[in-house]
Amino acid sequence: MPDALLQTRHLVKVYRVGDNAIRALDDVSVEIACGEFVAVMGPSGSGKSTFMNLLGCLDRSTSGEYLLAGRRVSELGGDELAEVRNRNIGFVFQSFNLLPRTSALENVELPLVYAGVAAQERHTRAQGMLARVGLGERAHHQPAQLSGGQQQRVAIARALVTQPVLILADEPTGALDSRTSLEIMALLQDLNASGMTVVVVTHEPDVAHFARRVLRFLDGRLVGDAAP
């Protein structure tokens, strides 16, 4: 597949807990093309979070290969991985993970700070991204002054601000009520419609319905790859 954005080959992750070796991820090979909207599902302990961490370059596989945008990520060092996370991947977490006592604008700017973007440009880009998620008016509010849905929108703006090739959302609606969940998923769907590749980890079938492809995990193995 020439336009595969990311590609894993025989990806294995083994955790050592005491004397026991736990195969959290067992021989996973998958390809995701540009512009796809993929849901990753499975019960807890199925390996979906591990898969997510490997896709997000937060962790390294025990064996196997991972290519992101044609780059062999599985061979990169710590600082190079940090750069890949910074440039190519936007994270959205279940608990938002915004910096407390820091304005929405500065939260969105954070990845640009590490990318070495000048202050003026950071402000402009962050402000623009907040407007895109519908929070242009709330740029100077702190997380504690925002609702859960608004906080998640700030987090999405932060994920988008470096113009990554991939959005990774780990249970993005897990801490939200169902109506807000729909809004957030609609926003992700909207982003996908404009060409962004989105991967969402979830255990809620409703959420998975927004995706066009569902990867199912069980006991560390990829057991299903189909439309919802």
Binding site: D79, L99, L110
Partner: protein, 410 residues
């Protein structure tokens, strides 16, 4: 990541926990202030000793009547009169690189007009001023005729000018020392306190012959020309030690002491005593600074403690920063800058406190202090080094966190 950005993050984080930051800084503040005060006090003591050495005049020898054994009883130094005026004149005559001034000491009530004052009377020769390197502020020294003829003239010290004359010009005035009228012909310049803390300016100098016959004459002085002390100065450029040996040899010869017999006089090299005192004050200053720097190290441990707590508390934040692209050195830098900011602010506050306390001590206790820019710089630099040293371990701990675990940390 630029230093300015790191500094902003550090300041914000410190501002979030103001009380905690302030308490953490307290260790450094006290440490830096203690170092500055101790160095100021130590250097002040050293400067005072150095000042006293200068005031006393270096290369000074002091000859006192010595311990003498009388019928098996050993008498203490100064209890008998074994040195005489003539010893002093002999030194002047025979040892060209030494200047000697004999002196008779005593106290007396002095009267001028309505006022009176108890002061020290010093019967000596004009050489005394040269030996003590003690110039006149006004008037003149004794003339040869006044020395030989027991002239009733005197030179007064600054304290006497203040106490007896109330600041009026004493030149030409007649004062009464033990009912004997003396004309003031000279005024000494200010000498300050002696090594022992006595006021050296509280003095009236009269010709030695006049002192013996008119003021301090005592019936029980065995030898008519004996004196209490002879001051000897080694001339500029001569080894005091060598002069001391020559003086000792001369006096032993004059006193007809047998080979192996004890000296019947006591010869003291003041520069040696002073040098010893200076050395001990330097050791004291060093000791004080060392003790003070211990408190700085304790402050540094406080910083490390709080930084470790901070890293644990902010594990999720660290995880997030890593997820959005912070490199190891960014996280390391962030926490290191935070620790150094703590210690630097603490150091600067400590400087203010230390300088304030030093000035306070100088004013309240009247101690001599020396505040030097170098010691302040040293204390601040030491504080920053402490911050780097004790901040490094927590910062490295933060930078080495695994992003996956950090993000999941509860």
């Amino acid at each position: 990541m630029k230093l300015g950005a790191l500094l902003r993050i550090a300041l914000r984080s410190l501002a979030t926990n103001k009380l905690r930051s302030a308490l953490t800084m307290l260790g450094i503040i006290i440490g830096v202030a203690a170092v500055i005060v101790m160095i100021a006090v130590g250097q002040g003591a050293q400067a005072r000793v150095a000042e006293q050495i200068r005031a006393l005049g270096s290369n000074l020898l002091l000859i006192l009547s010595g311990a003498r054994t009388q019928g098996g009883v050993r008498l203490s130094v100064g209890s008998t009169y074994t040195i005489t005026e003539d010893d002093a004149y002999a030194i002047n005559r025979e040892i060209p690189e030494a200047v000697a001034a004999p002196a008779l000491r005593g106290g007396a009530q002095v009267i001028w007009g309505n006022s009176n004052w108890a002061t020290q009377i010093y019967g000596t020769t004009p050489e005394y001023l040269e030996v003590r390197e003690w110039p006149l502020a006004d008037g003149r020294a004794f003339e040869p005729a006044e020395m030989s003829g027991a002239g009733k003239v005197c030179i007064v010290g600054q304290t006497v000018v203040k106490q007896l004359f109330g600041g009026a010009d004493p030149l030409g005035q007649v004062i009464r020392i033990k009912r004997v009228p003396f004309t003031v012909v000279g005024v000494l310049s200010t000498k300050g306190q002696s090594m022992m803390g006595t006021d050296q300016d509280d003095i009236i100098i009269v010709p030695i012959g006049t002192a013996r016959n008119r003021v301090l004459g005592r019936a029980n002085i065995a030898a008519q020309r004996s004196v209490s002390v002879i001051w000897v100065k080694a001339a500029e450029g001569y080894d005091t030690k060598r002069v001391e040996d020559e003086v000792r040899a001369l006096l032993r010869q004059r006193h007809r002491l047998q080979q192996g017999a004890d000296d019947d006089f006591s010869l003291r090299n003041l520069a040696d005593i002073m040098a010893a005192q200076e050395a001990s004050s330097r050791v004291l200053a060093l000791l004080l600074a060392a003790v003070a720097s211990v408190s700085l190290v304790v402050g540094g441990i406080g910083i490390m403690n709080i930084m470790l707590v901070s890293v644990t508390e902010r594990t999720r934040e660290i995880g997030l920063r890593m997820a959005v692209g912070a490199r190891t050195r960014d996280i390391l830098g962030q926490f290191l800058v935070e620790a150094v900011t703590l210690s630097l602010i603490g150091g600067l506050v400590g400087v203010l406190l230390g300088v304030g306390a030093s000035v306070g001590i100088a004013n309240v206790a009247g101690w001599n202090i020396v505040l030097s820019g170098r010691s302040i710089l040293l204390a601040v630099a030491f504080a920053v080094v402490t911050g780097v040293f004790f901040g490094f371990y927590p910062a490295r701990k933060a930078a080495r966190l695994n992003p996956v675990e950090a993000l999941r940390y509860e």
